[in-house]
């Protein structure tokens, strides 16, 4: 366990001493803030139209979470599909290129500790990014009431989805020593997770349809955003994370049997 934290902190140090995190955070915040502002305007115009139509009197009940946060977080999920590979591409590809994997593999630490340390390091950076987006509900809190419990489940969902994306990004990074190849491979994998959902909608009500639905990231994320904590969704995310990490472990193990 101590080794996992040592490795995770090393990753954090490299993320924060190089420009990676700052650039990713800036782009991520700019895009997700824009995607947050758009539904607010829609909400505001809808609100004013209704009051004008009703001609004053009692204010209508419109669910703020449903109208603003849900679309904002769903599109944030898509932004993450593009941002996470930028965080994960260096994790193992860089270690291979810089020959530092040789240091890790000849140190008295387990392969699983290396994989988990890398995963944890990237997850902490990702949690930091999510923390930065908290200013969105904080801004709205000044003018209206915000459903905090729903936000809590939304963030739990976003965290779990990020974990899944990081695990598979890590796997892509284990496959190559070229960071660009790692990034492009993870783009493919992660967008695949997202496209599966779209594919499910276009097919009929069959067994394949329900399988595709189950595999789709967005379906599970949406449940969390709606405030639903379902063990099926948790199982989905945790098992997909474990599968990604397991495959990463296998790829690293295979290096012992061939030349690097």
């Amino acid at each position: 366990m101590k080794n996992i934290w040592t490795l995770a902190f090393k990753e954090l140090r490299i993320y924060f001493t190089s420009p990676i995190v700052y650039v990713v955070a800036m782009v991520f915040l700019a895009v997700s803030d824009y995607l947050f502002v758009v539904p607010i305007y829609r909400y505001a115009s809808m609100f004013s139209q209704i009051t004008r139509f009703r001609g004053g009197g009692e204010l209508p009940e419109i669910n703020l979470h449903e109208a603003v946060f849900r679309p904002a977080y769903l599109s944030m999920g898509v932004v993450l599909l593009l941002m996470i590979p930028c965080l994960t591409m260096r994790l193992l590809a860089e270690e291979k290129k810089g020959k530092t994997l040789e240091l890790l593999l000849t140190s008295p630490i387990r392969l699983s500790e290396i994989v988990l340390g890398k995963f944890l390091g990237a997850c902490l950076v990702y949690a930091f990014l999510l923390l930065l987006t908290l200013h969105q509900p904080l801004v709205l809190m000044g003018v209206t009431t915000v459903a905090w419990k729903l936000l809590l489940t939304s963030y739990l969902g976003l965290l779990l989805m990020g974990g899944l994306l990081i695990a598979w990004g890590l796997f892509a990074s284990a496959l190559t020593e070229n960071q660009i190849i790692a990034a492009v491979t993870s783009f493919g994998l992660l967008i695949g997770f997202w496209l599966i959902g779209a594919m499910a909608q276009s097919t009929g009500e069959t067994a394949t349809d329900s399988v595709l639905h189950y595999l789709s990231v967005t379906e599970h994320l949406d449940n969390f955003i709606k405030g639903l904590i379902d063990t099926r969704d948790i199982t989905y995310f945790v098992s997909m994370i474990l599968l990604g990490l397991f495959l990463t472990h296998r790829v690293l193990e295979s290096h012992r049997w061939k030349s690097l």
């Binding site: 101590k2 001493t17 020959k99 040789e102 000849t106 140190s107 008295p108 630490i109 012992r256």
Partner: protein, 330 residues
């Protein structure tokens, strides 16, 4: 301390090393010598547990690399050919990280770093980013990282490659300084390095051990004859019959750009001292003796002989003048 038995490694159809056997005693400095592609790095990677062997056994400090890799890794400091450095870290941050993953207890990390920095004299750059260090300093950081957990065994893969002559001497001095406390294997294809720092030389070629001996023992083993190098004023008049008459063989004769002056080599059977007779002949013939010295076969020539003989049974040619000049100190 290190025991390698029948080690074999295949990459697909290519046999990288085949039936490697050798042992290194505690406290010994052993050179692993061979041309590029002889299997030095592969052997070292197996020794450190980085890759697995196809067959054979390796025991380091009493532990089998395949059965208890963790125990072996705790006891081995390994400097790969490219030092595994993180350019984004400062020297101190890097060493602290390495100490932690090598299993140095948290309270002792600071002391371990101080000792390592002191040993390889990194003091003045310890706060700098590794990205900004020169190659020589990076190599030192690499050495510091290998000794940080004070391992009984050090494995150094070409520790002086790519350094300038001054840095090479410094790194060699560092290795000599470490020799007392650690058992060291270092690989190299530079021969004077082996003679300079090692008590034992293992020569490998095409994945096989060709010879194991002390540097002196190796040169004695292959020396069939001794050679005298003679410099004279008038080289044209040198006659091989005259030399044959006193029991030597004229094997090489070369004129220098300066008018007439030149050098020739005389081969003598082992144990015969021809110097006096030769000097007398030269003076009598009036060739103008300028210089005469015996030439010991340098390790470089031994190495060439062993690695070429292995190939096609080629007979050892006489060393070329450049080679022999660099190795003729005695």
């Amino acid at each position: 301390m290190i025991e390698v038995r029948n080690l074999r490694k295949q990459f697909g159809d290519i046999v990288a090393i085949d039936d490697i056997c050798f042992t290194v005693e505690p406290g010994e400095v052993c050179a692993f010598l061979g041309p590029n592609g002889a299997g030095k790095t592969t052997t070292m990677r197996i020794l450190t547990g980085f890759i697995a062997a196809t067959s054979g056994t390796v025991r380091v400090a009493g532990f089998d690399v395949f059965e208890s890799p963790m125990e072996v890794k705790r006891r081995v400091g390994y400097l790969p050919e490219t030092p595994p450095l993180y350019p984004e870290m400062t020297v101190l941050e890097y060493l602290a990280f390495v100490a932690a993953i090598k299993g140095v207890p948290r309270r002792e990390i600071k002391a371990a770093i101080d000792v390592a920095v002191e040993k390889v004299t990194l003091g003045e750059v310890s706060g700098r980013l590794i990205a900004n260090l020169s190659k020589g300093y990076r190599q030192r950081v690499g050495l510091a990282h290998a000794i940080i957990h004070n391992p009984p065994v050090l494995i150094l893969d070409e520790p002086t490659v790519g350094l300038d002559p001054k840095q090479i001497i410094e790194i060699r001095e560092l290795i000599k300084g470490l020799a007392g406390e650690h058992t060291i294997i270092l690989s190299t294809h530079i021969l004077p390095e082996a003679t300079a720092v090692c008590q034992k030389v293992v020569i490998v070629n095409h994945g096989k051990v060709v010879a194991v001996d002390t540097p002196e023992g190796l040169s004695a083993q292959v020396r069939q004859s001794e050679t005298l190098s003679v410099r004279v004023r008038r080289i044209e008049s040198v006659a091989s019959e005259k030399i044959q008459a006193i029991g030597g063989t004229l094997v090489l004769q070369e004129a220098s750009p300066k008018e007439g002056e030149g050098r020739f080599l005389v081969e003598v059977g082992r144990g015969i001292d021809l110097r006096e007779a030769l000097a007398k002949t030269i003076v009598e013939e009036g060739w103008g003796l300028l210089e005469m010295k015996p030439m010991a076969l340098s390790l470089e020539e031994v190495f060439l002989q062993l690695t070429t003989e292995e190939k096609g049974g080629a007979v050892h040619e006489l060393p070329s003048p450049e080679l022999s000049l660099s190795g003729s100190v005695s």
